[in-house]
Amino acid sequence: MKAEKKKKIIKTIKINVDKCNGCRACEMICSAFHAAPKYSSNNPARSRIRVIREPLNDMYVPVYAGEYAAAECAGRDKYTIDGKEYDECAFCRASCPSRGEFKEPDSGLPLKCDMCEGEEEPLCVKWCTVDALTCEEREEEVDEEVKMENIEIGLASMVDKYGLEKVMDTVARMSKKD
């Protein structure tokens, strides 16, 4: 079976931390846009973008809310860049039990960036007039089908571990069930 090429629009928000002035307009406008009704209120604590700020250490990193994680990672990471040590999990986009970021302040429900669906460009980008946040769109051709080689790699490791016979038996038994 041959994989089919499909066209897809990819939106990339480019984050230039060197240009961030720490004003948090992105947080403000994000929370206003996602209020119901739209713009009826604002509250940066509901924002789907957070500027990690440590002014005296010259740290300003806008981070976007990504996937909800039911459980935290087994370990945590901590980056040091240019001699500046960032907080644990500073760059992680997950709404996760280990921290307070990207959760509605009252309900605790997870938040996720939706690139301001329906708008010309994400509003955090529009309101960032210092250009720390810019948005780029490009079209890419991507394989929509799962590549056969990937299945083979997986099966090969199963065979390595359990032997070909056991794997074949299991596949046969699974196919009878359906």
Binding site: S40, N43, A45
Partner: protein, 676 residues
């Protein structure tokens, strides 16, 4: 539901440790808007003139502007109001940064503090949970240091902290309240905070601020944002760079300091150095700035990057903005490296960057003149830079001569005596001014200096060009898109204004025109101070994005209060008058309303008298500068006129009282010499 504002104030009694959340009257918002306006009303209602600055009955109010916390770009001011120990009048210093929006998101429009805590404490506001906490471990700590320690101990990196340093704790009359990249510095409000035993206010808020008509409001916000971009791309031609753009003066960005260093005064506002700026100095200062400046930074929800993170070699990092860049350098006749270095100490100690350097230069002038002697300066180093560090230390600790100097030049000169008063030459209403000494009287500035009650020229000037443009063509070009004028007559005044000849200073603009111009300039500052808007996007620069025509729409759609230009003008006039009423009640009269004697070399006493007479009348004040019964009635301030009559400030026949009430304290402080 309340819109834009929260509808609640926090009332803190520091004597008893009592905390209350009090609902406010929406009618007061309509009459006085918020921020400075409602602060002035509270001072009027609750702080009568008998209350001394360091009395437990004095209030210290942290008021957010009406539109703080909404999406309006640059609206982030906290207006701190109290009775100043230095001027003994109502002080209303402001700070930008992140404090006001955070307080709004915590659910409060103001924090109103009264009483005195027996031990040093800090206030921790975390949404509905508010507590007074022990701060004994923070005693003597720097203002920036304090903020970092508190955020760590509370495990709240997102909390905003307004703190005092050693100067505030020791009640230095020009102590500031520091808040990250911003500070409320003028009038010695940090001393009142220290007197109350309050080291810091810490706030974290995660609640909503609502808008009355969101779609309309956002459209206005988008227009403003677009206009800011336009103005940033199109600086105004024909004016010096510092006046061409928006924002606070862009001191952190600009390397060319020819104008400031050659036109402002050095030392104790004495020496003009006309040929100071050279290629070598330009290169050296640029190297200094580039090596210490880590990043240009902004206040909440503003793209203007007026501040910077500064890292002097071997010293902790701090944040700076505006003209403090040069005040220490110029007072000490030193260089930029010294100025940026000592400003680090000054920020931690928490002192006003205008007053502090002048007080130190004043002390050294007295020393040179032999009025202060060696015995007053035991152990002072011999080099100028070292002397400034030494003096700053004595002042904030109130040690020896520092204890006298800590009261500012006016009170220090009185106490020192022996001719010292002539050296406290740069004050208005007992408060140190920008070090400017000019040649010929400017009638517009004369009126602003005389009658400005924030007592700082940058807090009343703006909007109208400081000088005429040389050619008619340039002027015509300028007025073409001058949409901010409240009336087209201002365009005509500017078009006819010439550098020389009949229509030039000091006789043109005419007295009446000067009244109109000053009134407009002042009105815009007062509106900003009630809404919480940064003057750098509104009242201070030429052609700002916020003006009298779009402000009413912002208020209507944001706060849901019906507003038009006439109603807004009347509201601003109302609380502006209330500020004056507070000060009138505290003894402020015509004799106090004058620029420093030597501000201009060439003066015109008759014209000056006419200017002040006409402006007073124009404002509805009598010839002592006291609001008349008639004008008070017109603004619905009958309660003020009743109080004035009761106190004998106005009589039933509405004649000005000639009684000059010099406060007891002033007389006391006027006597006695210096002791070390």
């Amino acid at each position: 539901m309340r819109y834009a504002e929260t509808g609640f104030n926090l009332e803190i009694d520091l004597t008893r440790g009592n905390i209350e959340r009090v609902a406010t009257d929406p009618k007061d918002t309509e009459l006085y808007l918020g921020g400075l306006g409602t602060n002035a009303k509270i001072i009027w209602d609750r702080v009568p003139p008998e209350v001394e600055p360091f009395s437990p009955e004095n209030l210290l109010i942290f008021g957010t502007g009406l539109l703080c916390g909404t999406p309006a770009t640059g609206c982030n001011r906290t207006i701190v109001t109290t009775i100043s120990p230095q001027t003994r009048l109502m002080a209303f210093s402001m700070m930008g940064g992140f404090f006001a929006p955070e307080l709004k998101y915590a659910g409060y429009d103001k924090v109103i503090l009264r009483g005195k805590s027996p031990d040093l404490v800090y206030l921790w506001i975390n949404n509905d949970k508010v507590e007074i906490r022990d701060a004994s471990h923070l005693k003597g700590k720097g203002a920036v240091e304090t903020a970092e320690i508190i955020k760590k101990e509370l495990k709240e990196p997102k909390a905003q902290v307004a703190a005092i340093g050693l100067a505030g704790e020791n009640r230095v009359f020009f102590a500031s309240i520091e808040q990250g990249r911003s500070s409320a510095s003028r009038g010695g409000i940090g001393a009142v905070m220290g007197d109350k035993g309050l080291k810091a206010i810490v706030v974290r808020g995660t609640k909503d601020i609502n808008l009355a008509r969101p779609a309309e409001f956002m459209e206005l916000c988008n227009e403003v944002l677009k206009y800011i971009k336009f103005r940033n791309d199109n600086p105004i031609p024909g004016v010096m760079p510092i006046l061409a753009g928006l924002g606070s003066p862009q001191e952190m960005k600009v390397h060319d300091e020819k104008w400031h260093t050659e036109n402002f005064m050095w030392g104790n506002s004495r020496t003009r150095r006309k040929d100071f700026w050279s290629k070598e100095i330009a290169t050296e200062w640029m190297r200094t700035m580039d090596s210490m400046r880590k990043r240009l930074i902004s206040c909440y929800n503003c793209p203007m990057t007026c501040g910077a993170t500064i890292q002097p070699p071997g010293l902790p990092t701090y944040m700076m903005k505006c003209f403090t860049k040069l005040t220490y350098t110029m007072a000490a006749m030193s260089d930029l490296e010294f100025g940026l270095g000592i400003a680090q100490s000054a920020t931690e100690y928490g002192v006003d960057g205008f007053s502090a350097p002048q007080v130190m230069a004043f002390a050294l002038e007295l020393y040179e003149a032999g009025i202060l002697k060696d015995e007053h300066f035991p152990g002072m180093p011999s080099d100028n830079n070292g002397r400034f560090y030494w003096l700053l230390d004595r002042i904030v600790r109130r040690e020896g001569i520092g204890d006298v100097l800590a009261n500012g030049t006016y009170w220090a000169a009185k106490e020192i005596g022996n001719g010292a008063e002539a050296y406290a030459h740069n004050n208005i209403k007992k408060h140190e001014q920008l070090p400017l000494k000019l040649s010929m009287l400017n009638p517009i500035y004369f009126l602003m200096y005389c009658t400005g009650e924030k007592i700082n020229i940058t807090q009343i000037e703006g909007q109208f060009p400081q000088a005429p443009f040389p050619t008619r063509e340039e002027r015509e070009e300028f007025v073409k898109d001058w949409i901010q004028v409240p009336d087209d007559k201002f365009k005509q005044i500017f078009l006819d204004w010439e550098l020389r000849g009949e229509k030039s200073l000091p006789l043109y603009p005419t007295v009446q025109m000067c009244c109109d111009i000053v009134d407009w300039q002042e009105r815009m500052h007062y509106i900003d101070d009630a809404l919480g808007m940064c003057a750098g996007l509104s009242s201070f620069p030429l052609k700002p994005p916020y003006h009298i025509h779009n402000y009413p729409k912002f208020i209507s759609s944001g706060a849901g209060i019906d507003m038009d230009e006439a109603k807004l003008t009347q509201a601003a006039k109302r609380y502006r008058t209330l500020v004056r009423a507070n000060n009138t009640r505290r003894g402020m009269r015509r004799k106090d309303e004058k620029p420093p004697e030597d501000h201009w070399k060439k003066r015109f006493p008759e014209l000056e008298k006419e200017l002040l007479d006409t402006y007073y009348k124009f404002k509805g004040w009598n010839d002592q500068g006291i609001p008349t019964k008639e004008s008070l009635y017109e603004m619905g301030l009958d309660f003020v006129s009743e109080d004035f009559v009761k106190r004998g400030i106005l009589t039933d026949s509405e004649e000005a009282s000639t009684k000059e009430t010099q406060s007891k304290k002033e007389k006391e402080q006027g006597e006695g010499g210096v002791t070390t």
